[in-house]
């Protein structure tokens, strides 16, 4: 199969690419664009290490063909911090020991950003746990992650109030 042309906006940068239709979004990010923050864990949609936001929605990039997402807006872990300033979710993960070896953490953080944007969990720890159950971490940082999500939501709400005021 010949390669097909696609356009993707990744972390605000526009990329025009030729891709083999078999290439997943995950492999494109890692192998072609050197955005290796997004991790390949199970490669079958079960561990969540490859989570990215596509047009604002968190998905498993391992189960997404790049060609099928032609024109999409993709946010990866590399696009989350503002320069040297960590995103409140990243800062909260560090503060609450939710940040472990770095293999599952990028996916956990992207999944948390998606969870907060979905607005379904609120401050209910059980809803946060269910909402992040697509991200598996054998370091068992889960308790710290729930604390981090609660604090990050508070920080983001405060920032929103400041912006509004």
């Amino acid at each position: 199969m010949t390669s097909l042309p696609i356009t993707l906006t990744i972390n605000g940068h526009r990329h025009e690419l030729e891709v083999d239709p078999r290439v997943t979004l995950l492999d494109l990010l890692r192998e072609r664009l050197d955005l290796t923050g997004t991790k390949k864990g199970c490669d079958r949609g079960q561990c969540g290490a490859c989570t990215v936001l596509v047009d604002g929605n968190r998905i498993n990039s391992c189960l997404a063909l790049a060609v099928s997402h032609d024109g999409a807006n993709v946010l990866t872990i590399e696009g989350v911090a503002r320069g040297e300033e960590l995103h409140p979710v990243q800062a909260a993960f560090i503060a609450h020991d939710g940040f472990q070896c770095g293999f599952c953490t990028p996916g956990q953080i992207m999944s948390t950003l998606g969870l907060i944007a979905e607005g379904q969990a609120g401050d209910d720890p059980e809803r946060i746990r269910e909402g992040l159950s697509g991200n598996i971490c054998r370091c068992a940082a889960y308790g710290g992650i729930v604390e981090a999500v609660l604090e990050a939501q508070e920080q983001l709400a405060k920032a929103d109030r400041r912006t509004a005021a």
């Binding site: 199969m1 239709p21 078999r22 079958r44 929605n57 189960l63 909402g131 159950s133």
Partner: protein, 352 residues
């Protein structure tokens, strides 16, 4: 993953023409198809990407009061649609109990109906599987089969259908709208999936090129909104397929059951409508004795296909509990752990 031709048709007729050729597969959310392709379980020569076909991502109320859900509506979008969850709470609960948020954000309504079995022998290309490769036998029979079918199975295949979403849908008389070379037709979800018989590879009534364009819920489906639940037992609290699940929907008036719907998941190769149980429920007093009789009726034809006799008793208990939960009333909001039997009714918690 094997090489394939990728096409992205702009219209439904073009999609049907492209997919009618042998060796074609439709791609929507891709959450199941890509997994199968990576494992070499399926190797389509042509992938027909329907994810951008117009008009298939809408939910609309029709003049006859039925709800038409486009095949490309995402599972998460449907479950989080407040009006939808209010009218069809058991369906929303089933959707939110399935998979993970990432998968629900990608998976589609039409794709969910076509989800393949999660039988581990089907997924293992070194094993014999009549469903994957007709005529090779079934290694699940005599193998690790404690999660396999207890209803409607055959000597050729004992796999189960994995969907949560389809269970309340089949209980509520959902209809599948199919567009094909011969035009548009409607098939009830109950008739859509096939039992394995001698041809487990034929999982549903679709012909080459046939495209699911929508799923319809008839007007009556919303009449159960006050007393409808989905319950799912699984081997971990979230992000797991059902060992057994049940959707129960009741209309109760002065203690009598005026209408009843019941379906089971995880027990057969299709979402299992328990019509014999519904017959027991209809007109009877709404109490635990009635529910126990209904559960007996639902499982009357069940038999183990291996090490899974426990599923028959488990299914009976889940039926009673689903009916008890439905009678207690649909919760205002879907619980934090959707479809968990541990958060829905008094006395049913681990720590109680």
């Amino acid at each position: 993953m094997r090489d394939f031709d990728y096409v992205r048709p702009a219209t439904i007729p073009d999609a049907i023409a492209a997919a009618a050729r042998p060796g074609s597969a439709y791609l929507a959310g891709g959450t199941n198809l890509l997994d199968l392709m990576k494992g070499g379980i399926t190797s389509p020569e042509r992938v027909v990407d329907i994810s951008r076909l117009p008009e298939l991502n809408r939910v609309e109320r029709l003049d006859d009061g039925s709800l038409r859900i486009g095949a490309l509506v995402r599972n998460a979008d449907l479950a989080h649609d407040t009006a939808f969850a209010k009218a069809y709470p058991a369906v929303a609960e089933a959707l939110l109990s399935g998979a993970s948020a990432q998968l629900r954000n990608a998976a589609t309504v039409g794709g969910n109906l076509l989800q393949r079995t999660r039988c581990s022998y089907f997924y293992d290309t070194a094993s014999a599987c009549n469903r994957r490769e007709p005529g090779t036998g079934c290694d699940a029979i005599g193998g690790e089969n404690r999660l396999h079918a207890v209803l409607g199975w055959s000597d050729a295949c004992i796999a189960t259908h994995p969907s949560d979403f389809c269970v309340p849908l089949v209980a509520l008389d959902a209809v599948v709208e199919i567009e094909g070379k011969q035009g548009r037709r409607h098939v009830t979800l109950e008739e859509f999936h096939r039992l394995p018989g001698e041809t487990p590879q034929r999982e549903n009534v679709l012909e080459p090129g046939d495209l699911i364009v929508a799923v319809r819920l008839p007007a009556e489906a919303a009449s159960f909104a006050a007393n409808a639940r989905y319950l799912k037992v699984r081997e971990r609290t979230s992000f797991a397929f059902a060992v057994v699940s049940a959707a129960a929907a009741l209309v109760v008036d002065s203690g009598k059951i005026r209408a009843a719907r019941l379906a089971l998941g995880g027990v057969a190769a299709k979402p299992w409508r328990a019509r014999s149980a519904e017959a027991v429920l209809l007109g009877a007093d709404a109490n635990e004795a009635t529910f126990a009789s209904a559960a007996d009726a639902a499982l009357a034809d069940a038999s183990p296909s291996g090490d899974n006799a426990f599923k028959i008793e488990l299914a009976r208990r889940i039926v009673v509990r689903a009916l008890t939960s439905a009678l207690a009333g649909t919760p205002e909001r879907i619980p934090a752990l959707p479809a968990s039997p541990f958060s829905s009714i008094p006395g049913a918690r681990h720590d109680a």
